[in-house]
Amino acid sequence: MNNMRSEMRHEKRVTRTYHRELFGAIALYTLLLVAAIRFGRPMEEGVLRTLVLVSPMIGFGAAIWAIVRHLARVDEFIRKQLTENVALAAAITAGLTFTYGFLETAGYPKLSMFTVWCVLCGTFGIVQVIRKLTGK
């Protein structure tokens, strides 16, 4: 049992550290977002209001930092797989959004640029699952 526990040390250690840093960043983002909505919106127009409203991006930056640190921490094969998956997801997202550009011309509803972000995340998840299941 102790042997089994020590055998999982590498993956568990890497995953735990990543989750701690990522969820910390998400918590910071959420906190700043709530504060920005609560205090930023009623403020008078000006530089200070802009800074308060954009402050949740500090949490977003922290999340990027957590992801960069995770990529540096994982082993070479996992890093290769992850970067390939991101590249594939980006290419598929580019294809999908480009296609939707033509559909908008054909009369489909205009979508927010924010949608691209959701498509990228979803595509990345699908690519990860497919590659894991197929072992490619």
Binding site: M4, S6, E7, M8, R9, E11, V74, E76, F77, G135
Partner: protein
């Protein structure tokens, strides 16, 4: 690149997870190398060579030997 990782690991009676821990990599990486789906970097190949106390060329061989 072909390799004898699976055979050497079996000789030592180690699981993939145990070898992964010795190499400080994930089990997925050991599986990928054993299945010939991933060729390790030189530092990792040297680490494998050290653990099994065999030269790299005794563990890894190119798919096609150069003419």
């Amino acid at each position: 690149m072909k390799n004898l990782l699976r055979e050497l690991r079996a000789e030592h009676g180690w699981s993939q997870a145990h070898l992964a821990e010795l190499l400080d990599v994930s089990r997925q990486t050991v599986i990928a190398i054993e299945n010939g789906k991933y060729d390790p970097s030189l530092p990792l190949a040297f680490a494998i060579s050290r653990i099994f106390q065999q030269p790299i060329e005794a563990i890894f061989t190119p798919d096609q030997e150069p003419a």
